[in-house]
């Protein structure tokens, strides 16, 4: 039960994340006698057992932290077998599909299981995820991971091409998620999977042509409240920025005009205030305007996919 937030001590068989640095985590299954190589040197699994999640661990050449996996951290560290969904889209899917403990969900395809983990966290322990993947090895790998992560009871992994063969579920799910090349071909089967009381559907597609056809089909099949959206996370880095002040008094020694100077840092860490004061001493307080600035990333992912949501109700 590695993902269970009530678990605090590392044990054999647990999946843990070795936190090396920002956005850099190694997923490791703790096994007796095993050793793991990190850039800070070897980590002996036996030494991790009994430690509390969140503790700092001394490696030969630096510190690492042992973290309990969460679906969000897992998304950042999981072994990629396919293109994956990230937390911004995943959050929207889980929220817009009205998921809560007890919900029953159908997902196609499973892919690398990035979304599946977030769904499972939300619907456990009484809900169920029926997930479908047309690639045999991927579906087996996903099944192993879900078992490893303590989700065995809540998930059924099926190796099947939903596009050709359908979900084969008879009005048992609250929500359907489609991440398929031709989602419009699966709407009939999705509709049959959704409970007679009604439910929600989501389709994720990178291309607008896919969205167009999907929406036409949803409308033809009497889905309502069809909404298509896009959401992107904009991350900020914290920087100490300095801007040169210009003097308006005549005959003052003209200061070298420098372009705005920014101290960029890798993890957006904030430098100690002593660094600033030493700079201040050099130029004098009034000549430089200093401030902490939240700077958006210069480059960011501009597109992941369109999310289309729809409601099915029977009157």
């Amino acid at each position: 039960m590695s993902f269970d937030s009530s678990k605090h001590i590392v044990d054999y068989g647990d999946t843990v994340l070795l936190y090396i640095g920002y956005d850099n985590m190694l997923p490791v299954v703790i096994e007796e006698g095993k050793t793991h190589q990190t850039k800070f040197g070897a980590v002996k699994h036996d030494e991790l057992v009994g430690k509390q999640f969140g503790t700092r661990f001394q490696c030969p050449r630096g510190w690492i932290y042992i973290l309990r996996p969460t679906p969000e951290l897992w998304t950042l560290s999981l072994p990629h077998r396919t293109q994956i969904l990230y937390t911004t889209d995943i959050s929207m899917v889980v929220f817009q599909l009205d998921l809560k403990p007890g919900s029953i969900v159908a997902e196609a395809g499973t892919g690398s299981g990035s979304l599946s983990h977030a769904i499972l966290r939300t619907i456990a322990p009484t809900g169920h995820l029926h997930t479908f993947e047309f690639h045999k090895e991927r579906s087996e790998k996903a099944r192993q991971e879900f078992h490893q992560h303590g989700h065995a009871e809540c998930v059924t992994v099926t190796h099947r091409d939903v596009c050709g063969d359908g979900f084969q579920l008879d009005h048992i799910v609250d929500a359907v998620f489609l991440d398929l090349p031709k989602p419009w071909e699966c709407i009939t089967s999705a509709k049959k999977a959704i409970k007679k009381q009604g439910g929600r559907l989501c389709s994720f597609s990178p291309c607008i042509e896919q969205v167009q056809r999907t929406c036409e089909e949803l409308s033809a099949q009497n889905f309502t409240d069809i909404v298509t959206m896009e959401c992107l996370a904009r991350h900020f880095n914290l920087q100490y920025a300095k801007l040169q002040n210009v003097s308006f008094e005549p005959n003052k020694t003209c200061l070298e005009t420098k372009a705005s100077e920014v101290e960029t840092e890798s993890e957006p860490p904030v430098k100690k205030s002593s660094v600033i004061s030493s700079n201040k001493d050099k130029v004098g307080d009034s000549d430089v305007h200093q401030f902490t600035s939240a700077v958006p990333a210069i480059n960011m992912p501009g597109h992941t996919g369109f999310l289309t949501f729809a409601t099915l109700t029977y009157h």
Partner: protein, 474 residues
Amino acid sequence: MEHELVKEGDQVVFHREGWSRVFQIRKKRQVYLDKTKLDVDALIGQPYGSTFEVDRGKLVKVEAAAAKQLAIGETSSDPGMDNRNLLDLDSNQRMSKEDIMKMKDEGATGQKIIEELIENSETFKMKTEFSQAKYLKKKKKKHIPVFTVMRPTPRLVMDIFSKDPAKICYLRGDSLSQLLSYSNVMYGSRVGVVDTCQGLVLACLLQRIGDAGKIVQLIPNSTNAVCRQVMDYLGFPKFLDNVYSFPLDELSLLNDETHNLSPGSETCGNTETTSVCETSAAAEQLEETTSDTERSEGHGQGSLISNGNNGAATQNSEEAMDNTETLDSEMPGEIVDADKTDTEVKVGEKRLLGPNRERQRQQREERQREAGEIMKEKLDSLVLACKYNPTPILMQMLTFLHPSSSVVVYCQHLEPLVECYTRVKENHAGLQLKLSETWYREYQILPQRTHPKINMSGTGGYLFTFITSQRSSD
């Protein structure tokens, strides 16, 4: 059973695209919808998912096929080519506002009014097919009020605030969804939360912890009533065993205990603490926070509305009622009007409370003591989504979190989160620090007319998230 039916006492969402209202279904209850008075009796026994039209003050069920017809604008057979001959003249529409009002008074249906409008329009026939569809859609929205009856979910309930997002601190669906993800709250979680979003965040978290988890809602001080209106909307009962409140001005007391006294000590039941918290610098910071709060609440965002939703809040309702009534009057009228009956009920409760005050005070102290115990055993997640300055609250609360716990701070402004970030970093209190906002856009998807929606939201607030780590002092 294939269909769930609307029962008396249910909280029901009246929903149409991007718009929701929630009403509790009671016999003989009248509600206002678009300034029309309605009896909601007719909904009892109807299946959820049914669509209704408001026809001259009555609810008329719309069958599935007809509902679809209403949603899609059917167009006339012979549309114009383009708009080269269209002139922008007042005389284009021969019907005046008075004519329409007269028709309505005479009891004409919305459909009839629209037919007349088209009949009397000089330009309708010359418009292009797409333009006609758009015109029809607009007129239908105005003259044929149609809505679907749904069970409340956080997604639908959020739409209630679409006209007045200040009430939920400008929290947008995408921000709320990420807040819920990054908090890692799941069935059985133990969560600390500060919520001045009408209980929206609290209610969402409560839904996710199920009946096994525990939530401690942190409130500025014990005389403060908290608004948990959204809990009502989502059909949660007035009192829940696993939801506690704990006043922030008594945190330092818990801290002292953790450091100086043996665990499990009973002394934290004491609620007469005003003198105690003045001793530490931290408490002073908190007092600043509180006064900030009072100032911002003075602006009439209505955050102090006491619904008497749980033990603690009910006790306070008498003290809070004085504040509440003035604030109520400053609230945008819509919801207040509709819920007038609720207010009356509340006043009734208040009178009943009098004789039981001593017993209830003891009960509250006991609950607060339990909340303290939960926090001392440490929490799995912390969520702040409030109008208070988050940094002092966050720094105080870090002691009550396990290492490897998830923390989310939502704020409508960026600057306070910059401060949070800096402090957490300086104290080496967390890993994987992320400060972000979300860009969110909706699309119109129609044959030949697909494009981003003309209007989009400019901000959905900011999120600061991190994972707690073992602190160097530990």
